[in-house]
Amino acid sequence: MAEQFKDSASALASTFVPSKGEQWLSAQRKQGSAAFSGAAMPSRRIEQFKYNNFNDLLKQNISLAGASDQALVAELTAEIPGLNAHRFVFVDGVFQPELSSATDADVSATAFSTADDAQQAVISDLLGKLVPEGDRPFVALADSLLDDGVLLEVAAGADLQKPVQLLSVRTTTGVATPRLLVKIGDGARASVIEQYQCADGVQAFDSAVSELDLGANAELHHYRIALGNDSYTHIGTSVAHQGRDSRYRAYVINTGGAINRLDHVVDVRGSGSNSQMFGAYLARAKQQVDIHLCVEHAVPNCDSQETYRGMAAESGKAVFNGRIQIHKDAQKTDAQLSCRNLLLSNKAELNAKPELEIYADDVKCAHGATVGQLDPESIFYMRTRGLSEEKARALLSYGFINEVLLAMPLEPLADFLRTPMDAFFANQDNS
């Protein structure tokens, strides 16, 4: 069955012509094609896909995204009130300069298709280099069908006042491979929003890859939002590479999706660094959400905190795999992971696997994971104050996730996200 998917994707790659026709990334595509044809397709027998059901995707014939639906484009690319961001918009995998905003002196954003020689050199130099070794069929697929992308460079020492938003929307079926490269110069500070969404009912498939490089003493707030629906398959890979004394904050939201999966790698390569990850993953209906987090502590004197909240309602399936690896030299690491989950229906499924892999002794590591339900005592308490049971449940569920939203410094974005959250909690049938 997986052959259908693999063969059609390989065939697609062999005749692939990028939307702007440029050839200078063809070596990357060839490499991707080779890796993809050598890669095993997802199955339950493969540890990293153990809890996923890719059957629906794997029996598809992969084709490129067709012409976009302009009416949906306008709706999906509406600005987030109060956010005031530099915007870079992709529609069905194609960069849209006319929907994107100009940048200022401190931040340069370039579409791969319009890169000059110097920028092409930077892109070639960085692209794919941060993704760790290992079997990553969807990264290989994205490489093999590499189309346009955005290179975002923040000058050393710059302190960006406006967040930078990369918005990728889907209005039509087929595969898209939005790509983002971020280079935060030494001592610079920036907020980057990576946001993926899809019109309801559109059977779109994304293989999105982002690579973020933090220079020494840089600070990046990385918002990675994938708002799914029942028809959208979004598979993302995001790798942050931290230089010395850098600070990385990630806010990850995965809601819904036929499959909505993120492989998130935080590669701590510079000592004195701090990493904080917050995440929420929510599934209802027959959705599958999955966060695979991997924090690599390769150097000493770093700390990381991971706070994740998951929820599976109706017939939804939620997966969290959080791995903290402390390499031999990473003495004095302090890594703490907390993962709490709510299982709201008896048809839903929740799988959590917090892992610690430790090769250094002078470290403090802990993880905690819970799976449970809304506290009946809390529900009763709220009902004695006049709230209906349904309202009490919705408020409690919301409170459970709210910790992640409250952690976001960008309040307009958090407010924007409360709408999909409310929709998620409303009218659940958990019988």
Binding site: K328, N346, L350, E355, L356, E357, I358, D362, C365, V371
Partner: protein
């Protein structure tokens, strides 16, 4: 029955005749594994046809299976054709003739554990006649007491002859022959092991232990143990010896099956201290064991406690299938690795029944160049209304060349269940050591005190004399671990 067996034996005789090295002192099969080996083992043990068929079926399945690979275990693969699969108890001629011939390192360990001289001889394989007599008398005394209570405690081989209906009913009922590569191999070639049957309503009057069953000691390579507690029965079983059993067998692939019916309780404790190999990782036992219990009846209770300090490579996950409503599964474990030892151990708690409860307390201590892995699964099936699990797994690292890893799998399919998992990693801190030293305690003693404190939650689950010995065992194992 015996006529039947004789017939089979006669029929088979011609086939395996060549397979035997006839020796008055000891009878053993030459190295190698094929269907004839399986037939030969079964025939030597005068087993009924159904058991031979069962073994052969397992063997056929095993041939189609692949040896598993584990991400965190690295060892030289076993050459299954180089092993001998049957050996009658060693005669005196094989073993060391006096304690002078025994590895002095081993003698030193015995002394530290405070084991009496005649027991030392016995444990080292210097099977002195008086000790045999001694143990036979012990054996007989307790056998009478047990018989009065209606408890059956014998070797599996005896039970196959004496209680075939029970064996037939339960053998492979918890760990099916095809369960995994090593369990499958065990099913084909298992040598011997213990059989315990506690009838309805009986509380076993004493702790049962393989310690008493010295005669079965040398049959450990493919041990098979089966414990059944009928309705309302209870038993506490201690496996292995409190002393470090010196065993030169390279591969141990044992299978242990526990069955608890309504309101029954089985407590199974293990202290394992097989040869871990030398500091460079040469030699040492591969301990690939499948242990599983089923809480078959309502309100039943199975508890595993293990203290693992030996073996070069350990792969074992004593598990509980919680099928009866309100049943309880527990797993308490201390795993200490040093030298180049590798331990991949943990448990599986499979919740099927309503209001089932499981508790997992796992403590891993890694020193030197060892690798220590906790791997566990908690699965709540859609039928397990009101299920609860609590897991606490802690790792302690001594030195910066070892590894400590935690891989818990949590799978939940019932929305009235609650699962809590916590894991921590720490080291013996310089402050703790300094405090002890400042109070006049030397470093080695201090480390052993701290480690014992770390393991307290597990040791308290062991029968008292076992707990004391387990503490001593850790102390000995930790010697030289701290610079």
């Amino acid at each position: 029955m015996s006529e039947h067996t004789d017939l089979i034996e006669a029929e088979l005789a011609s086939e395996y005749e060549a397979g035997f090295v006839t020796d008055i002192e000891s009878e053993s099969l030459p190295p190698g594994l094929d269907e004839d080996t399986v037939r030969a083992i079964s025939a030597r043990k005068k087993e009924p046809q159904w058991l031979l068929d069962w073994r052969l079926e397992a063997f056929a399945a095993w041939k189609t299976m692949e040896e598993p690979e584990w991400a965190h275990v690295d060892y030289q693969k076993v050459d299954f054709q180089a092993l001998s699969y049957y050996s009658a108890p060693k005669s005196q001629a094989d073993g060391p003739k006096s304690l002078d011939e025994v590895d002095p390192e081993l003698i030193r360990t015995y002394e530290k554990l405070g084991i009496p001289l005649h027991e030392q001889k016995m444990l080292a394989g210097v099977v002195a006649v008086d000790v045999v007599f001694d143990s036979v008398s012990i054996h007989t005394t307790f056998k009478d007491t047990l018989a009065k209570a209606g408890v059956i405690f014998s070797s599996i081989s005896e039970a196959v002859q004496d209680h075939p209906e029970i064996i037939k009913k339960y053998l492979g009922s918890v760990v099916p022959a095809r369960d995994n590569f090593y369990a499958c191999l065990n099913s084909a070639v298992f040598s011997d092991g213990s059989f315990v049957f506690i009838p309805k309503g009986v509380t076993c009057p004493m702790e049962l232990s393989t310690y008493f069953r010295i005669n079965a000691m040398n049959t450990g390579q493919f041990e098979r143990t089966l414990i059944i507690a009928e309705e309302g029965a209870s038993v506490s079983y201690l496996e292995g010896c409190t002393a470090p059993m010196r065993d030169e067998n390279q591969l141990h692939a044992a299978v242990v099956e526990l069955v608890a019916l309504d309101d029954a309780k089985i407590k199974y404790s293990t202290v394992q201290n097989w040869y871990p190999g030398d500091a460079e990782g040469k030699g040492g036992v591969y301990n690939f064991v499948t242990k599983r219990g089923i809480c078959k009846g309502d309100n039943s209770h199975i508890s595993w406690t293990q203290v693992e300090t030996g073996s070069a490579v350990t792969w074992k996950y004593p598990s509980v299938i919680l099928r009866g409503d309100n049943s309880v599964g527990e797993f308490y474990s201390v795993a200490l690795t040093r030298g180049r030892q590798q331990a991949d151990t943990g448990t599986k708690m499979i919740h099927l029944g309503k209001n089932t409860k499981s508790t997992i307390i796992a403590k891993g201590i890694s020193a030197a160049n060892s690798e220590n892995v906790y791997r566990g699964l908690v699965r709540i099936a859609p039928t397990a209304e009101g299920a609860r699990n609590y897991t606490q797994c802690d790792s302690l690292l001594i030195g910066d060349t070892c590894g400590a890893h935690t891989f818990p799998y949590i799978e939940n399919k019932h929305n009235s269940s609650v699962i809590e998992h916590e894991a921590t990693t720490s080291k013996v801190s310089d402050e703790q050591l300094f405090l002890c030293q400042q109070r006049g305690i030397d470093t080695e003693k201090a480390v052993s005190m701290i480690v014992n404190g770390f393991c307290k939650d597990v040791f308290k689950e062991l029968p008292m004399e076992f707990a004391v010995e387990a503490g001593k065992l850790l102390e000995i194992s930790l010697e030289g671990s701290v610079g």
